[in-house]
């Protein structure tokens, strides 16, 4: 069980007492969690419980109100934060794919390394082709996002994030907009990534998938972590009535 490393390995992501409010609305209340290198954690919970906000705080898209977030030892909640350095380490994939519609699949994958990291174009292209092959999109390099299915677009988005060679991948309900068949293609890709040792944080509604890939599951509701533990513990034998009520609804 990799959950042993959970206790031992130095955490790659460490949240301590994170609070976030949007105006009067307290979205996150005292969130603490840690993720070790190579670990896959899943965050589950009802809509509006702040799951996506946690991910957006980790890569600095949303500034936190108080508390501390450390990614690879660097404090994210710091006005002097080197945003680019953080974004290089943290890849994120969104529910709505957010591919660049005016660029081909290959260009989507190549753009950030070429523009942001100023890497050599030929080198980046070779890497991008490999990544597209890895997410099973060989042959679709010159297709535009509008010509691809949702599942294919989502896999391009995963390849696009991987092109930055991140330490950590965040997945924000990446299969929520997909039909069951294309959903599977995307889940297979994520499973392979996790198996290769990529550190992954998933916000998901796929309970069976969470049970299969996660080393650790967090259940959040109304901005707090209600309980967390090994997937079987949380998903099969939840202690908290709120977790039980949620699982009864979705299973």
């Amino acid at each position: 069980m990799r959950s042993v490393t959970h206790a031992l390995g130095a955490p790659i992501v460490l949240l301590k007492h994170v609070c976030k409010r949007f105006g009067d609305v307290e979205v996150l209340k005292d969130i603490s969690l840690e993720v070790a290198k190579g670990e896959t954690i899943c965050i589950i919970g009802p809509s509006g419980s702040g799951k996506s906000t946690i991910l957006r705080c980790i890569n600095g898209l949303v500034p936190v109100t108080s508390g501390s977030i450390k990614v690879d030892g660097v404090e994210v909640n710091d006005p002097k934060l080197d945003t680019l350095a953080l974004r290089r380490k943290v890849g994120i994939v969104f529910q709505q794919y957010n591919l660049f519609p005016h660029k081909t699949a290959l260009q989507n994958v190549m753009m950030a390394p070429v523009t942001v990291l100023k890497q050599d174009k030929a080198e980046v292209e070779a890497r991008a082709l490999k990544l597209l092959d890895k997410v099973r999109l060989a042959g679709k390099e010159s297709s535009y996002p509008g010509e691809l299915s949702g599942g294919q677009q989502q896999r391009v988005a995963i390849a696009r994030s991987l092109a930055m060679n991140p330490l950590l991948m965040l997945f924000d309900e990446v299969t929520a907009a997909l039909d069951p068949e294309t959903k599977k293609e995307v889940l297979v890709t994520i499973r392979e990534l996790a198996a290769e040792g990529m550190t992954c944080i998933l916000v998901t509604h796929e309970m069976s998938f969470a049970r299969e890939v996660a080393d650790h599951v967090y259940f959040t509701d109304a901005g707090v972590i209600v309980e967390h533990g090994a997937p079987d513990e949380i998903l099969q034998h939840p202690k908290e009535p709120r977790t039980r009520a949620f699982l009864e609804q979705v299973l």
């Binding site: 890849g91 957010n98 660049f100 005016h102 509008g146 930055m164």
Partner: protein
């Protein structure tokens, strides 16, 4: 913008007024419009011909004789509109981008400039430019002469700038926020995001309203006649005077100008509509 002709009371001017209300280039213009303009023109020349008396030339002959000059004037209108569009767009694009700046004061100032010039009557801006800008400058010992037409171009460029600014702002804000989020997540800074992700997605959205604006500015260049620029309507007035100011020539001569503008602007309007339809289908 043909209101000035309507005020002269000429039938062709009145027809021009009917054809150029706000946003005339959008809905409901079809082949009937072409026929209507042709009829106005033919009817006005026919009236001119019928009322022609012995020893005077018919309206068609007059138009034929003067057409090189009048068409030269028309070309000048097109030149003014193109130059105004060029300058206005060059200034309006950055202004529109500044309207979306994340710096409050910058955004506010760009908004103020845009709203000021967008909500001023075009003719007033033209007057201000033509009468307030000196006709010659001396810079470093060199004297630069500014003819009226160059000041008129600036007068038309100001409203173009403000309208382009709004077109750009609207287009930028119509790009889904997910594009900004994913760009930021990949490490793009604001400038890179705008230049490589957002603006390239805006061109398509901006083209139809920009072409619409071009049509409007082309038609409004006849306003330059009020400040004496030798464009088509100024020349038409001079031709009328040279022909003895015969009332029978009013309608055919202004009708000729109307037809020229119509034949130029109408295809642009149709093209704009076609582009809008195409972009809507593709999303």
């Amino acid at each position: 913008m043909a209101r000035t002709h309507a005020e002269t009371g000429s039938p062709a001017g009145a027809a021009a007024f009917l054809l150029v209300p706000n946003g005339p280039l959008r809905a409901g213009i079809d082949a009937r419009a072409v026929i209507a303009v042709a009829l106005v023109f033919l009817a006005s020349t026919a009236v001119g011909a019928a009322t022609a008396t012995e020893g005077t030339r018919s309206a068609l002959e007059v138009i034929w004789t003067w057409s090189p000059l009048l068409l030269w004037g028309f070309l000048f209108n097109l030149f003014i509109s193109a130059a105004a569009m060029l300058i206005g767009t060059a200034a309006g694009v950055p202004l529109g981008v500044l309207q979306t700046s994340d710096l409050g004061p910058v955004r506010w100032l760009a908004w103020l400039v845009t709203q000021f010039f967008r909500n001023s009557p075009w003719l007033v801006l033209l007057f201000l430019c033509v009468f307030l800008i000196p006709y010659r400058f001396t810079v470093l010992g060199y004297t630069v002469l500014l003819p009226d037409w160059s000041k008129a171009i600036l007068g038309f460029a100001l409203p173009v700038m403000a309208n382009v600014s709004e077109i750009v702002r609207g287009a930028i804000q119509s790009v889904p926020t997910g594009q900004w989020e994913s760009s930021a997540s990949l490490g793009f800074n604001r400038r890179q995001t705008l230049a490589q992700i957002i603006l390239p997605q805006c061109y398509k959205r901006m083209l139809p309203p920009w072409m619409n604006l071009y049509s409007l500015i082309t038609m409004s260049t006849v306003n330059a006649s009020v400040v004496g620029v030798s464009e088509m309507i100024t020349l038409t007035n001079e031709v009328l005077a040279a022909e003895g100011s015969r009332p029978a020539l009013l309608a055919p001569l202004y009708g000729f100008a109307l037809v020229c503008f119509f034949l130029y602007c109408y295809p642009i309007a149709r093209w704009t509509q076609a582009l809008e339809r195409r972009f809507n289908v593709r999303g």
